[in-house]
């Protein structure tokens, strides 16, 4: 009877399944040096679990890390990130010159750089790419990164200059300034000779004592850049009138003028000749070299973009300029790039292909890695619960990350507008203990990440001191009293505060820990509210919350300013409502300082001031955590998880494998 047999077959399967499940559990627990298989792939192909599906292959468009890594394979900029330190190293620019106060940069391009269609990459392509990246029509979310470039912000924000109808002269910023303006940066001062402006500047990447920086030829555009800054006004007449009403100087200056839209041609990027690019900034920015490796500034092919518009990134049309070119794109599955023979340094590109896999599920990504279908996984894929198993393995990558977790405080609403209350809530948290529970992060009392910026005298914020916290809260008018059972009680208006976070398990654990600490040490039970990500972000940005909001910030470039600068604007990225002109001035002064050590000290002073005002409660420095097979070389757990792919290779000789975390030191 066939049915009869089927019956036994079914039961058999069930038993087999149970037995196998039992076996598999014991296999998981077996110790080994590495997590899963260590057989190198047969071909020179690197398979990488890259996280989310890329939004777009157009470099200025996407802001995510998965896209950033793909862009780094397909596109190249003037400079590239160093695989270890992330400092600028030569890419399409062979050498560069920096002027005396880091407000102007001259890049000398190599002559053999080509796009994947064989056309040469010239200075004009970089000027085009920069203008396009910040054009209001492209509407790139990252365009704020280029705001340091002269008039870039004005162009991106659709603003206007004002020109006198009779004299055809433009109204200048200094004409209407209410206070005595700061000394303008070199890039805006009149020129005696370009060379003089560069004499105390630096030249990179290999300073040759025989070569003196010259700053490139003087041009009409250069003289325009080196003239006093023009006044920038909103395009809407009503807004201009309103501004003029509050400033009599402005009102006089506005008479008989006409608005002239700030155009792409006004932006401070210039092709001096086919192989020299000069970029003028509106302020000194010593970190600009580290920033210009960012995807926003990578070179894109003008002809193709003008021909196909938004469809230029379609696999049928795309032309790239990096070490690899697009081979295939299977959305939500994988993106394959192959070595580009047109690339100027193609001989030193080790890999034949890179396969970027899409996977957003951590266990799934780790499974692919374990069975040997992937050679490395993206950052933050190892769940906390798995750390016990995976951390002792030799292919586990660990390192400090240029990212922090902190709490925003809405300082515009009582009772959190009282500094004493904010300090009390900060001092009532045992951050060291919290970090221990998180296993791989470091406790943080400042607003810059721990151990990232070498030589930066990071200030310390106030530490864990529940006694002092209770005193401060009592002083602020919320007396804390000790109960018979040893617990504390506080007459605190808890209905006026809450703790909001975007729902994920890490944030939930954080919120619950903070709630417990405040209850235990202050006797205050702050209500928690979890929100979906897209609801949470605007609530925080518009200060549409009371009390506390979780904050996470990762560096855009390797300088403390990428963190401290968050509070140099009143809105947008500042989620606290704390905006202090004294703080802004301190940062500005620091950025003008040519001496790196002094600049760092001034920065640290500003950071100290920020911590004293406590608009934020720093919690922890994040940590890099991912896996890469020992045969993958040239890939380092750097602070931003960005990998210049041309340095990555597959080592077949097991004697040369990585048997520990490769060192970030040179």
């Amino acid at each position: 009877m066939p049915e009869f047999r089927l019956n036994y077959l079914l039961s058999g399967c069930l038993i087999l399944a149970c037995v196998c499940a039992g076996i598999s559990c014991s296999v998981v627990a077996t110790p080994g040096d590495f997590y899963g298989s260590t057989t190198p792939p047969k071909q020179n192909i690197f398979r990488y679990v890259n996280g989310d599906e890329p939004e777009s292959l157009d470099p200025p468009i996407s802001t995510g890390q998965p896209e950033a890594r793909i862009y780094m394979s397909l596109f190249e900029g003037l400079v590239e990130y160093d695989p270890k330190s992330l400092n600028a190293i030569p890419a399409i620019a062979e050498t560069w010159e920096v002027n005396n106060d880091s407000s102007e940069f001259v890049f000398h391009l190599r002559h053999n750089a080509r796009f994947s269609n064989g056309e040469p990459i010239k200075a004009q392509d970089f000027v085009y790419s920069l203008r396009r990246a910040i054009s209001p029509e492209l509407a790139s979310k990252n365009s704020y990164l280029a705001y340091y470039v002269a008039y870039a912000q004005a162009y991106n924000e659709h603003r206007v200059f004002l020109r006198d109808r009779n004299t055809q002269q433009f109204v200048l910023e200094k004409d209407v300034a209410e206070a005595e303006p700061l000394t303008p940066p070199f890039s805006q001062r009149a020129l005696n000779s370009p060379a003089a402006e560069y004499e105390s500047g630096t030249i990179g990447p290999k300073p040759d004592p025989a070569v003196k920086p010259a700053g490139g030829a003087d041009t009409a555009f250069h003289r325009f850049m080196h003239s006093p800054a023009r006044l920038i006004m909103p395009a809407e007449e009503a807004k201009r009138t309103k501004l003029a009403d509050s400033n009599p100087k402005l009102k006089t200056a506005l008479q008989n003028t006409e608005p002239v839209a700030v155009s792409a041609e006004d932006v401070g990027a210039e092709a001096i000749d086919d192989y020299t690019v000069r970029i003028s900034l509106s302020q000194p920015a010593p970190y600009f070299l580290g920033l210009i490796a960012h995807q926003l500034f990578r070179v894109v092919p003008r002809k193709v973009i003008e021909q196909y518009g938004a469809q230029w990134t379609d696999p049928a049309h795309i032309v790239t300029g990096g070490p690899f070119r697009l081979k295939a794109w299977r959305p939500y599955n994988e993106l394959v790039v192959e070595r580009d023979p047109m690339y100027w340094d193609a001989a030193n590109v080790h890999l034949d292909e890179i396969h970027f896999f899409v996977s957003t599920d951590n266990p799934t990504s780790l499974n692919l890695y374990r069975v040997g279908e992937a050679d490395a996984v993206l950052n933050h894929t190892v769940p906390n619960a798995w750390l016990g198993t995976i951390r002792p393995k030799k292919d586990y990558m660990d390192g400090s990350e240029a990212a922090i977790v902190y709490l925003n405080i809405n300082v515009t609403r009582p009772p959190m507008n009282d500094l004493r209350v904010r300090r009390a809530f900060n001092m009532a948290i045992d951050k060291v203990n919290y970090s221990k529970s998180r296993l791989i992060t470091k406790p943080l009392s400042a607003f810059t990440p721990e151990g990232i910026f070498v030589g930066y005298p990071q200030p310390k914020g106030e530490g864990f001191d529940p006694e002092q916290a209770r005193k401060l809260l009592t002083e602020a008018g919320f007396p804390v009293t000790k109960q018979g059972d040893g617990s504390y009680q506080c007459k605190f208006p808890v209905e006026q505060v809450e703790f909001i976070y975007n729902s994920n398990s890490a944030n939930k654990a954080l919120a619950e820990f903070m709630q417990a600490q405040w209850k235990q040490n202050l006797g205050v039970t702050v209500p928690l509210r979890s929100m979906e990500f897209k609801t949470f972000m605007p609530a925080r940005a518009n200060l549409d919350y009371k009390g506390f909001a979780v904050g996470i910030w990762g560096a855009d470039y390797m300088d403390p300013f990428t963190f401290l600068g968050l509070f140099s604007t009143p809105g947008g990225v500042n989620g606290t409502g704390w905006y202090d002109l004294k703080y802004v001035a301190m940062l500005d002064e620091a950025n003008r300082n040519l001496n790196q050590q002094e600049r760092y000290q001034q920065m640290a002073k500003a950071e100290k001031y920020l911590l004293e005002n406590q608009p934020v409660i720093p919690i922890e420095t994040s940590s890099v955590n991912f896996l890469k097979k020992p045969y993958v070389k040239g890939m380092y757990p750097n602070a931003a998880s960005l990998y210049p792919w041309k340095f990555v290779y597959i080592e077949r000789d097991s004697a040369k494998w990585d048997y520990s975390i490769p060192s970030l030191a040179d």
Partner: protein, 307 residues
């Protein structure tokens, strides 16, 4: 019959329009935008983005444009998140993936489910019946986000027989685990439906008549009993198949399949309005058509039903 089908097809059109309108409104009501990300955007940049995508226009213009493009060109527009990719193209390339996995899983579920269910019904209250119904109960109660990882643990991480995830076209070894995972629940459900339906039919008068005519047991079951006993399975097939074909979020996520379900969940999280409207309309159309197909099949299977 023909007029019935035409009538039903015509009703589909206003239904879809209502679905689109409600979806459009819900997306608008949801807080946040497709461009909200980890880093807050300065207001000026936000303004540029809103202008680029026409979000600065009055709502009735935006609504009118959406509806007009759909009605006139059957064009759902371009994804907001995936720059330059048209919604129609995204659906066109992800549907085959979902449909392949969904149809194969349903076929497997149908075959195993009907056979198991029939055995259980024919040998009601025997050990065989209990064994298959226990399995069915397990199948119904183990959710696929548990079943999937168990199968991966067994067949990929322990035995190294099958790849743990990823899509590799059809046919390939990658497809086996998703199909098994997906079919589990349906298999179990169909087995129970078959058993219940068949038991009821086996007690009915026309089966007694068939037996009295002297037909063999095999003929009684295959020709008469199953036809009536499978009616519940058929009515279940319509919506089940529609949902399976248009993607299953959990399985597509566990196995990283580039299917419609994956896009659907991502589109909602991303507030990618054109993509949400496109996929919702598509699922609505599929559901309506499948239900129509079920009604037609009913008429064929049950002689009492005529339109």
């Amino acid at each position: 019959m023909i007029s019935f089908i035409i009538r039903r097809l015509l009703i589909t059109i206003p239904t879809i329009l209502v679905v689109i309108t409600i979806t459009w409104g819900l997306v608008r009501l949801a807080p946040g935008n497709f461009y909200t990300s980890e880093k807050n955007i300065p207001p000026a940049i936000e303004k540029n983005i809103r202008e680029k995508y026409g979000l600065d226009k009055p709502w009735y213009q935006q609504y009118g444009r959406t509806i007009w493009n759909i009605v006139r060109h059957f064009d759902f527009g371009t994804s907001l998140k995936y720059e330059g990719q048209s919604v129609n193209a995204i659906i066109a390339r992800s549907l085959p993936v979902s449909a392949t996995v969904g149809i194969l899983a349903y076929l497997l579920a149908l075959v195993v489910g009907v056979v198991t269910g029939s055995i259980a019904a024919l040998y009601a209250n025997s050990r065989r019946d209990y064994a298959s119904m226990t399995l069915a109960m397990l199948g119904i109660s183990i959710p696929n986000f548990v079943l999937g990882p168990i199968l991966v643990l067994l067949f990929s991480l322990t035995l190294y027989w099958l790849p743990p995830s990823r899509w590799n076209g059809f046919p390939s070894r990658n497809i086996i685990l998703p199909i098994l995972t997906l079919s589990g629940l349906y298999m179990a459900y169909i087995a129970r439906l078959t058993r219940a339906g068949l038991l009821e039919v086996l007690r009915s008068d026309y089966i007694r008549t068939a037996r009295a005519k002297g037909l063999s047991e095999r003929q009684v079951v295959m020709r008469h009993a199953l036809r009536g006993g499978l009616l519940p399975v058929v009515s279940y097939t319509g919506p089940a198949l529609a949902l399976l074909v248009t993607g299953t979020v959990v399985v597509e996520r566990i196995f990283v399949l580039p299917g419609l379900g994956n896009y659907f969940i991502q589109a909602s999280l991303n507030r990618d309005e054109p993509l949400i409207i496109g996929i919702v309309s598509f699922i609505a159309i599929a559901l309506l058509l499948m239900n129509l197909a079920v009604d037609v099949a009913y008429a064929y299977l049950d002689p009492r039903i005529r339109y």
